[in-house]
């Protein structure tokens, strides 16, 4: 039998079903691996060993009495942005270092109801603001493929954990690429569904018109399995969409013959590292070999997506993060002179540099005299960007290109230059601005570091993305590659 940590979610589900091992055995094996190896990567903020073993025992009992859910006994990790009842939920910040959530996020609740076992809470950029996991109050996460490199961000603990086989799957959130870029940089699969597809209830808000929850896994099939459980209407999220959730696994095996794949001219401009571009083009040729046709499309406003994002996202963040006041929850400064001083000190001391930068950027673009020139202008450009996608999807079913402009970069390389860091999300941000589903799939290596193929679809086309990725993974083995130190 393949060692438990090396198996995918789907393989583990079959093993549990056929009683080859119990969930308690599986959970204990992974917890032991995490205890021995997490220090190398710093992928966890909290490991919930006792709760996990108790949940695994409940899952084993449920199976015996014939009440197994679709994820019964399967171990996962939650990004520490999801509220978990009775368990510390930090969002990677000193501000919430002492926060014990009084309730569960909908995503957490749904996965638990299906029988999933939570091994712990993954490290992340502070309040999901970062592309390298270096803004975390709990320190950077290291990339299992090369410990000097970043695992991407903001879901860096999630991506590193899955790549290092600490767990077969982890939840993530994606506001500008925070699931897909870390997936690309760690050779894992990441999907950000359509805006509103998965409930944001209990997911600590960063930029509410862009935030969406998704998963990081090792195969498209595993992503389909989890997404099917997570997706769906939730009355507790006012932006949740009331549309039936298709059975993502039902059509995943269907051929992609005749699928029209859009290739974006602007994606292969100067900003893309040459070898990364070659891997992506090779992947597109595989799709062609599978019967897909390619069509050249244009996203003329692509270069404006990053500046648009860096107006809209900070504006929404400055509003969302105004709730942290040092009074009701979170960090509270000592020796405040008065109430105003308490607010300013608690926030000044509780937030890290990048979060403060974004709050101030957002405050500036929303302030009197600047609102029209920045915020309203950005919302207009956002419409132009969404229109570009609408036009493109009149001719194609999916758009394929690079997820990130280069493979994983070294920790410390971009941390002092916000603009360089922001530009790492140039290919992913458009999907958030337009609310589209998008996915990253491993498609090869450059200098022993993984590269991701980015697939974007029209609203609610998750099924097509998952099928396209699954068919690609039937022809290639890139998603099976494992960092040597973590085999």
């Amino acid at each position: 039998m393949t060692e438990l940590h090396a198996q995918t979610l789907t393989e583990l589900a079959a093993g549990l079903e056929h009683a080859e091992f119990t969930s308690v055995e599986l959970t204990a094996a992974l917890l032991d691996r995490i205890a021995r190896r997490n220090d190398e990567l710093n992928a966890f903020i909290t490991v919930t060993a006792d709760e996990a073993l108790a949940a695994a025992a409940r899952a084993d009992a449920a199976r015996k009495s014939g009440k197994a859910g679709v994820l019964n006994g399967l171990p996962i990790i939650h990004k520490d942005i999801f509220c978990t009842r009775g368990i510390k939920t930090t969002c990677g910040s000193k501000m919430l270092d002492n926060f014990i959530s009084p309730y569960d996020a909908t995503v957490v609740e749904k996965l638990a109801s299906a029988g999933a076992v939570v091994l712990g809470k993954a490290n992340m950029d502070e309040f999901a603001m970062g592309s390298s996991n270096e803004t975390s109050y709990f320190g950077p996460v290291r990339n299992p493929w090369n410990p000097d490199c970043s695992p991407g961000g903001s879901s860096g603990g999630s991506s590193a954990s899955v790549a290092a086989r600490f767990a077969p799957a982890a939840t993530g959130t994606d506001t500008g690429g925070s699931i897909r870029q870390p997936a690309a940089l760690t050779g894992t699969v990441g999907i950000k569904p359509t805006y509103g597809r998965v409930s944001r209830y209990g997911m600590i808000a960063f930029a509410s018109s862009l935030d969406q929850a998704g998963v990081i896994t090792r195969s498209s099939e595993d992503a389909a399995l989890l997404l099917g459980v997570m997706a769906g209407f939730d009355e507790r999220d006012s932006t949740s969409i009331d549309q039936p959730v298709p059975d993502y696994l039902a059509s995943i095996g269907d051929s992609i013959k005749g699928l029209r794949v859009g290739i974006v001219r602007e994606h292969f401009d100067a900003g893309l590292e040459e070898e990364t571009g070659k891997r992506v083009k090779e992947a597109i040729r595989v799709l062609e070999a599978l019967g897909a046709s390619t069509v050249e499309v244009s996203l003329p406003n692509l270069n404006l997506s990053v500046p648009t994002y860096y107006v809209v996202a900070p504006a929404e963040c400055s509003s969302n993060l105004s709730r942290f006041d040092g009074v009701r929850f979170g960090y509270r400064a000592e020796h405040a002179e008065d109430l105003l001083d308490l607010y300013c000190r608690s926030r000044g001391e509780g937030f890290g540099d990048e979060v403060k930068r974004r709050i101030m950027t957002g405050t500036y673009v929303l302030s009197a005299g600047y609102y029209d020139a920045y915020y309203l202008k950005a919302q207009r450009v956002r419409q132009l960007i969404a229109n570009d996608f609408r036009k493109a999807f009149a001719d194609v079913d999916v758009i394929a290109g690079p997820t990130a402009p280069s493979p994983a970069f070294k920790l410390g390389d971009k941390v002092n230059d916000p603009i360089q860091m922001y530009l790492n999300d140039i290919y992913t941000i458009g999907a958030n601005l337009a609310g589209l589903p998008a996915m990253s799939v491993p498609c090869g290596f450059v200098d022993d570091l993984p590269v991701g193929l980015h697939l974007v679809g029209p609203h609610f086309a998750e099924e097509v993305l998952l099928r396209c990725a699954h068919q690609y993974q039937g022809e290639t083995d890139w998603h099976k590659a494992c960092p040597e130190a973590y085999r």
Partner: protein
């Protein structure tokens, strides 16, 4: 530099952030770069373009105006730094 310290102090006050002197020095430089960067947007022709309000062109759903929450005050206040008799404590507001 599109921002100076005086402007930044105003923004920091609006944002309720107390910054150290070093943070001010660094922020003037980095935030100016960010503002210059997003200034690219001014080049885009957006005449007659309607600002986007929702990625799916959907309206915010309303719910019936009925009580759905139960009283969890004690549970919620466990996360507060200072409470007494069910109230949140803050520094004196009135002299």
């Amino acid at each position: 530099m599109s921002l100076d310290k005086v402007k930044l102090q105003h923004i920091a006050m609006l944002a309720r952030l107390k910054l150290t002197d070093e943070e001010y020095a660094e922020s003037v430089e980095k935030l100016s770069k960010i503002v210059d960067f997003v200034d690219q947007l001014s080049q885009a022709d957006t005449q007659d373009v309607v600002p986007m309000a929702h990625p799916l062109d959907a309206a915010q759903r309303l719910r019936p105006d009925v009580v759905t929450e139960s009283d969890n005050r004690d549970l919620y206040q466990k996360n507060a730094a200072a409470v007494a008799d069910g109230l949140y404590l803050v520094p004196k507001v009135l002299e």
